[in-house]
Amino acid sequence: MAELPAGKGELFRMIPVDELRDFVRAEKQKGLVPKLMDEREAIARFVKSGMYIGVELYGSVRCPMSLVREIVRQRIGGLDLAGQGVLENDLLIGAGLVKNLDITYHGYEVFGVSPVLRRACESGKVKTVEWSNAALAWRFKAAAMGLPYLPVRSMLGTDTFNFSAAKAVECPFTGQKLCALPALALDVGLIHVHRADEFGNAQVDGISGFAAEMARASKRLIISAEEIVPHEEVQKFPERTLIPYYLVDAVVHAPYGSLPGEMPYVYWRDEEHVKAYMKAAESEEGFQAYLQEWVYGVRDHWHFLEKAGGEKRLSELRRLATRR
């Protein structure tokens, strides 16, 4: 067979699988230990400058926005970021905290491209390496399986492949050409869920995006939850626990934690907030003013909720969710 092609993008992080095993053995709590803490403590304890982080699902749906705002508030910089995102990645990138981006999709869907991403890429401030959506999820899956790579049939033959860090390999059984995706293990993963107990047993209602894979590919995992429930509640239907306690390092109570995005079955996205944000983000000054108003100028998530309209607006968003 002719020489196999390889992407020329930088592989930002490759953690040897045995190192991950050693980490899990030495560092992860296997007993049922309470991990409930506030967002400030969770972020300060586990997210350090220069780390590689990832956020699930994405900025307008079931996204740990309160945790992301806290990272920005603490100005933890030099980060590498797994970039399937919208608003959450805008905040991190626009605040100047991101160095490298493994990007799949970063935009506003029907509302178009992100001006924050455009400014960052077009000025060369952020280095991007390309992947597809499935490729990023499968990279987490590879790490979750304790493997250094996973062979798949996406990305082959394209510039997405050429500007990724994937490599083509030959199947040892059939001789077929496959795309080898390097495992991606995160220093810290951030996931927002519907409910969790104080130990971190976490449940998601509706689609689960790539939460299961990312949770298992994160050395440290911070969960924010709409609701903190008694342990007995998760024990009733343990099969609903997508993310078991031993994967989790911190549990943060964050009702409306996905705002201004939606939370399936609970509240609808704050369309007015999103539109006002997008208008602001068109210019660098506008974006910085948004950060000042909604992140730096806000003490914590509870303060954000007061600012976001208080009980009246929040109950409206809950009502809209039931009109699905």
Binding site: R62, K141, G157, T160, G206, E262, Y265, A321, R324
Partner: protein, 253 residues
């Protein structure tokens, strides 16, 4: 004849390409409206698949996002991105609907950059699920506005595989056999691909459009068959459904 705009024409023509009792990957925007329309007209059992895990949503309410709650409202299942993409890898998903900033004569698509990758003139969102859909579905249908800046002889960046550089190229690259681009739906025409050369070919004209107009708005030479079909205009009932039932707030049209 009822008045209609370009978006409505694109939506109706895209809906006509959707086949009952098949599974289609649906992206944000026009494909969502087209799927909602198809389900209310000729394809009630169309299964709309959304890459983050929604499968077979009712489409009673228009989703705003491919991961949003409406993508699994009254759905057959709500799972995960791996589950849906792996279903595509196993051959379950017949059609994938895609958009793009640029398309070339072999149906390759660009949604990544204009200019140099590392210092682009314009940065677009990136592949998202498009590369996977273009790699793994049996047939892909691109939906685009027609224009010379979009229909280009060479892409700035090949985000999603069409027929790559011609016959056999997909298989040589390692992509699943017998897959590839099937149609392009635009506001001027419907296009398909020549079986031998894999090059884009005019198939049908939108109402009131001429062959010359389509060629003039295409930045490369199109194959023109001896017989070109005529697309019907959007029907009054289709327009009523779109305006009054599917998207009454006119978010998309």
């Amino acid at each position: 004849m009822a008045e209609y705009n370009k978006s409505e024409l694109l939506i109706c023509t895209a809906a006509h390409q959707m086949e009952d009792n098949t599974i289609c990957f649906i992206g944000t925007g026009i494909p969502m409206l087209a799927a909602a329309l198809a389900k209310r007209t000729h394809a009630p059992h169309l299964m709309a698949a959304f890459e983050f895990g929604g499968m077979g949503a009712s489409m009673e309410r228009l989703p705003l996002a491919v991961g949003g709650s409406r993508t699994f409202h009254k759905a057959a299942s709500a799972s995960s991105i791996c589950d849906l993409m792996e279903a595509a890898a196993r051959g379950f998903i017949e059609y994938g609907f895609l958009g793009g900033a640029q398309i070339d004569p072999f149906g390759n698509l660009n949604t990544t950059v204009i200019g140099d990758h590392d210092r682009p003139k314009v940065r677009f969102p990136g592949s998202g699920g498009a590369n996977d859909i273009g790699s793994l579905c049996w047939r892909t249908i691109a939906i685009m506005r027609h224009g010379k800046q979009r229909f280009v002889p060479r892409l700035d960046f090949l985000t999603t595989a069409g027929y790559l550089d011609g016959p056999g190229a997909r298989e040589r690259a390692g992509l699943p056999r017998n897959t590839g681009p099937y149609r392009v739906v635009t506001d001027l025409a419907v296009l398909d691909y020549d079986e031998k050369t894999c090059r884009m070919r005019l198939r049908a004209l939108q109402p009131g459009v001429t062959v010359e107009q389509v060629q003039a708005e295409t930045g490369f030479e199109l194959l023109i068959p001896s017989r070109v079909e005529q697309n019907p205009p959007p029907q009054p009932e289709e327009l009523r459904l779109l305006r009054e039932v599917i998207d009454p707030q006119r978010l998309y049209t």
